[in-house]
């Protein structure tokens, strides 16, 4: 699975909420094989520099000023799903419009093509030897975690529970939410259906699910759960403060935990050293910088200095 520079064709690009979209990138020929076995947590660098901006009246007010910036760098995006057919691999990306590149991405149409470098990074390690996988996600952290949940179907004996957080109901990057939330035994999110994953939702404003931080429901769950700590693996992806709190909980409970980090990346392939992640240097109390793009983006929570 050698990384490289490839051309992908847009299969679809659909809006799934206020500012969330799902885009399907189709690879054929040699690249189809390269992408056929990407791991959850891995990512691609997409060149969106020469795509068009949406029409002015379709750009949200708060992004108007930054939208016009003339961009030159690629952007990193991880996968939310993958579909492999003969000679064709489609990877799906769940993304949010936050600036000039993602706005341009939202304007791509089926049939357009983009230049893609990947697959990059390490991806999540599988929960070998565990009985329980806890999936914690916030905001666009959803993508890699959904991808992971789908992959975990290969581990039917493992219990999977997802903890989903957002500021408010409209910040939840899911296609079906409001009408199905609160069913027995946890909340229902279409994206996790069929993955045999129980879901719990929390929002900061209580507009859906329980009110509070996702880390609160994780914490409460752990407190009442009798599962052996060493049989649990926590996977987390989302805003850095959320990851810091997850890491803290995992450490205090002595649970293995993997976090997927984001950094501003200029290259994504180890050339520039821009994506520094501060990590503990053994037990020395000192720290070193690892590179998010090459050494990550998934790190063992215990090695990261938050």
């Amino acid at each position: 699975m050698a990384k490289g520079s490839f051309t992908a064709t847009i299969g679809y690009n659909k809006r799934i909420g206020k500012s969330f979209y799902k885009i399907g990138l189709e690879f054929s020929g040699a690249s189809a094989e390269v992408f056929a076995d990407v791991k959850p947590g891995q990512f691609v660098e997409i060149d969106l520099c020469h795509a068009s901006l949406p029409a002015d009246n379709k750009i949200p007010g708060e992004l108007c000023d930054s939208a016009g910036r003339n961009i030159i760098l690629r952007r990193p995006f991880s996968f939310s799903d993958i579909a492999v057919e003969k000679g064709k691999t489609t990877v799906e990306i769940l993304y949010c419009t936050v600036g000039p590149a993602s706005l341009r991405m939202s304007n791509l149409e089926a049939g357009d093509s983009v230049s893609v470098i990947g697959p990059l990074g390490n991806g999540f390690g599988m929960p070998e030897g565990k009985t329980t996988a806890l999936l914690v996600l916030g905001g666009t952290g959803a993508g890699p975690i959904i991808h992971l949940a789908k992959q975990l179907k290969n581990y039917p004996q493992i219990q999977k529970i997802a903890f989903v957080g957002a500021r408010s109901v409209e910040d939840l990057p899911f296609e079906k939410i409001a009408d199905c939330i609160g069913a027995e035994g946890g909340d229902y999110l279409a994206e996790f259906s069929g993955t045999d994953t129980q879901t719990f939702v929390s929002t900061d404003d209580g507009s859906v699910g329980s009110k509070g931080f996702v880390t609160d429901i994780l914490y409460r769950y752990l407190k009442q759960s009798g599962v052996e700590r060493r049989e649990i693996m926590v996977y987390a992806c989302g805003p850095e403060p959320m990851l810091a709190r997850v890491a803290q909980i995992a450490e205090s409970e002595n649970i293995d935990c993997q976090v997927s980090l984001e950094r501003r990346m200029a290259c994504g392939i180890g050339l520039c050293q821009s994506c520094a992640v501060e990590c503990k240097a053994g037990d020395s109390g000192q720290s070193i910088y690892k590179m998010c793009c090459k050494d990550g983006p998934v790190f063992d929570a215990s090695e990261v200095v938050f």
Partner: protein, 310 residues
């Protein structure tokens, strides 16, 4: 490939296979680029700045994008001289192009130390003296803006560097770049490298803080290209023309046409930095673009391109 264009370059007495270098700090240790292009396209490879002691570099965020450019404040993160000799020199030995080690430091002594320790290694063709890094508090740019200091450090490192070629990398953050260029040439520099990045800042208006943890950073990329071309042309006309001291031109080069512009302005070779982030095969494409241009225009040797601006 067109066999009618001689793509070799006489670079201050060093024979290069081609005119394209990787710029310091933008191409790792070459191994990463091997996945994307044939490294044989390179005329020269310049390492990330090396200092005597390892440096962690600056906290994150270290970069931010701007209109047609980017700011970086990596902070000369590097593994230090000892580790470099042990881990990286062997890899670089395998490269077919000329390897330049970029040297940085906080004092003249540190620069000298690096040059002294490395001058015995065959796989190194020369040194690039980074006296123009805007991202370190002490040293760096201070050396690079004062002609007297430029002359002094050039002389000392030249002496310490044994027979290795010495290329001095100039800062564009000066009133008259010809003054520092002249100082370097008169002090014995074998080549000049210009330009390094511009001191710059981006503010996050939501938080009211600079985006970069280091507050300021160096601006690179296509945004600065027209200033870089101007400076190369100025130094060529006012300092190096006729001296045989070649200029390595850089600053926003993205295409073969950009590279030809720099060479017409006076550069004997070009370095590619930011463009490799966008397109990891940039160096190869740029080299092919230069060759294409020459072939179309009936230019049989790159020497004729350098300084050909009417």
């Amino acid at each position: 490939m067109n066999n009618n264009v001689d793509m070799s370059v006489d670079f201050g007495g060093l024979k290069l296979a081609g005119p394209v270098f990787t710029a310091s700090g933008t191409c790792g240790y070459a191994d990463e680029l091997g996945d994307f292009m044939d490294l044989g396209c390179l005329g020269g490879f310049i390492t990330k700045s090396i200092t005597v002691e390892p440096r962690k570099g600056n906290p994150t965020p270290r970069i931010v994008e701007t209109d047609s450019g980017m700011l970086n404040a990596i902070g000369l993160a590097n593994i230090g001289l000892d580790n470099f000799i042990e881990e990286k020199l062997p890899i670089l030995g395998g490269m077919s192009c000329a390897v330049f080690v970029n040297i940085a430091g906080k004092s003249a002594e540190e620069y000298i130390e690096v040059a002294r320790r490395l001058c015995g290694f065959e796989q190194i063709a020369g040194f690039e003296l980074n006296i123009s890094c805007p991202n370190v508090k002490k040293g760096g740019i201070a050396f690079g803006t004062d002609p007297v200091q430029v002359a002094e450090i050039t002389k000392k490192v030249k002496k310490a560097g044994g027979g290795k070629k010495l290329m001095v990398k100039l800062s564009p953050n000066v009133t008259d770049i010809s003054a520092t260029a002249r100082a370097a040439v008169e002090a014995g520099a074998d080549a000049l490298s210009l330009i390094n990045t511009f001191m710059a800042m981006v503010i996050d208006i939501e938080s009211g803080k600079p985006v970069l943890a280091n507050r300021t950073g160096g601006l690179s990329g296509p945004a600065i290209k027209p200033i870089a071309v101007y400076m190369v042309n100025k130094v060529y006309n006012e300092v190096t023309k006729g001296t045989g001291v070649p200029i390595l031109g850089s600053g926003g080069i993205r295409t073969g046409s950009d590279a030809v512009e720099f060479m017409m302005a006076g550069a004997s070779a070009v370095a590619v930095g930011t463009a490799s982030f966008i397109e990891p095969a940039s160096c190869e494409k740029i080299a092919a673009g230069i060759e294409d241009y020459c072939s179309k225009k009936g230019i049989d040797s790159l020497k004729k391109l350098t300084g050909s601006l009417c």
